[in-house]
């Protein structure tokens, strides 16, 4: 315990702004403990893959692989997007609960906090992607060269950052635990529109509308190694939505910092 007079210089500051593995472990455990998170982000996308990836045309050729590989990549994106969005929504919820204020009374720096949340979203996104890919391996229908397989998985993971930002944004707009009620169906809708669940005929009116929705661009980007095709409008779509969601999240967050 402290002596009657304390010399403040004897106290140390933790490294990395307080970021450490204990926090990451507890946070990960916490997310996996949430049954809804596990079902919607890990079980559901794999189930969708089994449902959509075994159509009659599963072995038709697509770029460097087949239709099953195409569907698998899409479902992995959907699952990872959901985990990232729910991770983002948690940031807003934690602020509403006063937890971020509590953390401000510890050495954890705000930058380290956001970094930690991004890291968690990446880890869980990776888990979601791995689950769908393992489902694909187990089913043995998807076929593409290993390096294409890996490239798709990594690109998918990076693309999910768009939805982490969306999660933060929606988390602020829809406070409390209802954010996922909006994000779940919303992302499903975006996935339908974004060519993730069902292929839309290129050039149709539907396709033109779809090409403006937020899942469309990232879906094209994450499947690019497989299809061997990366249209410019898909890249523009992905970048524009990322900027919009990050700006929205930053805007709501800055409104909220009046009394941390």
């Amino acid at each position: 315990m402290s002596s009657t007079t304390l010399d403040p210089t004897t106290r140390r500051v933790p490294p990395f702004g307080g970021l450490n593995t204990t926090v990451l472990r507890i946070e990960l455990k916490r997310m996996l403990r949430n049954r809804r998170t596990v079902i919607f982000t890990l079980v559901f996308p794999a189930a969708l893959f089994f449902a959509f990836g075994s159509g009659a045309d599963w072995n038709q050729s697509v770029g460097h692989g087949n239709v099953a590989a195409y569907v698998m990549t899409s479902m992995a994106l959907y699952g990872a997007a959901l985990t990232a969005a729910s991770g983002g929504a948690m940031v807003a919820m934690e602020r509403a609960l006063g937890w971020s204020r509590q953390l401000r009374l510890t050495p954890l720096s705000p930058t380290a906090y956001i970094l930690m949340k991004a890291l968690l979203a990446l880890v869980l996104g990776a888990v979601a992607i791995t689950v769908v890919n393992l489902a694909g391996l187990f089913q043995a229908k998807p076929s593409m060269p290993t390096h294409v397989w890996l490239a798709c998985a990594v690109l998918t993971l990076l693309c999910t950052m768009v939805f982490a930002a969306l999660g933060v944004f929606v988390g602020y707009l829809v406070p409390g635990e209802n954010a996922m009620q909006v994000l779940g169906p919303g992302l499903a809708l975006f996935s339908f529109l974004g060519n993730v669940f069902i292929p839309i005929d290129q050039g149709s009116t539907m396709w033109h509308v779809a090409s403006l929705t937020p899942m469309f661009g990232v879906a094209e980007v994450s499947r690019a190694p497989l299809t061997g095709d990366l249209p410019w409008y898909a890249v523009v779509n992905a970048v524009v939505w990322l900027v919009l969601f990050v700006a929205g999240a930053a805007w709501r967050m800055s409104k909220d910092t009046a009394r941390v």
Partner: protein, 316 residues
């Protein structure tokens, strides 16, 4: 100890403005290590705003502020300052132990998690989800989290709200024990009784200013005095107010109420110089004393309060 004695808190002409609202209007305050100080005042007096600045949660508009000779954020990074919040600040889906472990991992040096759980009396709850704990249990958990880093300065905002008498007593005896080891404690309260009973020193705030600073008995003496009540036809308000030691004059129909430090002079004047009759002298209670010091004598002054202001309701 040979180390230089750094004050626990040092504020110089500190102000905080939110738009048009002047929450803190220039306060100077020095608190030495080991003191237990009560921040007393009605809601909206500026107590919480000042505590927020001490914790680095908001920045002063002007003035200087040092905590143990450091900027608040630096002091917090070193685990020198901690606080117990009134509500919130907990994740419902973590267990009690996870919450303490989580918090502990963020500091460079902490006390062992088990020891802190035991000290706060929540070892038995370690594996329970925070959301399933009662309000009192959650408060003990917040307290455990605040003590993890063995802080030199502990800030408490209305710490015993919602506690029963027994809990309140246990809480304060624990605080006392820690203070004997050199920990400085600053707590905000709107209970004069609590401030008087547990603090070595009371800093009284009103409308963003420090209006009194001293021991409990000094504060009470400041507001001491008695009330003279008499029936008087056509009272001369001005003349009464000019009397020596009269703090305030109130006229209700043909009844006058005079608050004064020297009621004998007032009584003598009333009975000899005026036609006053049915004279009564009563002592003011502690609550009245508090209201005198924190009350709104100047109704035209701009209100600094952002929330509702009901000191009467808060007093027990």
């Amino acid at each position: 100890m040979t180390s230089p004695r750094v004050p626990a808190i040092s504020l110089g002409d500190l102000t905080k403005t939110f738009g048009d609202v002047h929450a803190v209007r220039g306060i100077d305050l020095q608190i030495e290590q080991g003191e237990i100080v009560a921040f007393l005042g009605p809601n909206g007096a500026g107590k919480t705003t000042t505590i927020d600045m001490l914790l680095g949660l908001s920045r002063p508009t002007t003035g200087s502020l040092e905590v143990l000779g450091l900027a608040p954020r630096q002091a917090i990074s070193r685990g020198l300052v901690s606080a117990v919040m009134q509500t919130g600040g907990l994740l419902k889906d973590l267990t009690v132990r996870e919450t303490v472990e989580y918090t502990a991992s963020l500091f460079a040096d902490t006390q062992p998690v088990d020891a802190v759980l035991a000290h706060a009396g929540i070892t038995g709850l370690a594996d329970r989800r925070v959301g399933k704990c009662s309000g009192g249990e959650q408060q003990r958990l917040r307290f455990a989290m605040a003590l993890l880093s063995d802080p030199a300065l502990l800030l408490l905002d209305e710490p015993t709200t919602g506690m029963d008498v027994e809990g309140r007593r246990a809480f304060w005896s624990a605080i006392r024990r820690d203070a004997e080891k050199g920990r400085t404690v600053l707590f905000a309260t709107h209970y004069l009784e609590e401030a008087d009973q547990y603090a070595d020193r009371i800093v009284l705030m009103r409308r963003g200013r420090i209006v009194a600073d001293g021991t409990g008995s000094q504060i009470k003496a400041l507001a001491a005095g008695r009330t003279v009540r008499a029936t008087l036809d056509d009272p001369d308000h001005q003349a009464l107010a000019r009397l020596d030691g009269v703090d305030s004059v109130e006229v209700r129909g043909d009844t006058v109420l005079l608050h004064a430090r020297d009621t004998d002079t007032v009584a003598r004047y009333l009975l000899t110089q005026t036609g006053a009759h049915d004279l009564e002298i009563t002592a003011r209670g502690i609550e009245e004393a508090f209201l005198t010091l924190t009350g709104d004598a100047d109704e035209t002054a701009q209100t600094a309060e952002t929330g509702t202001r009901t000191p009467e309701g808060a007093l027990r």
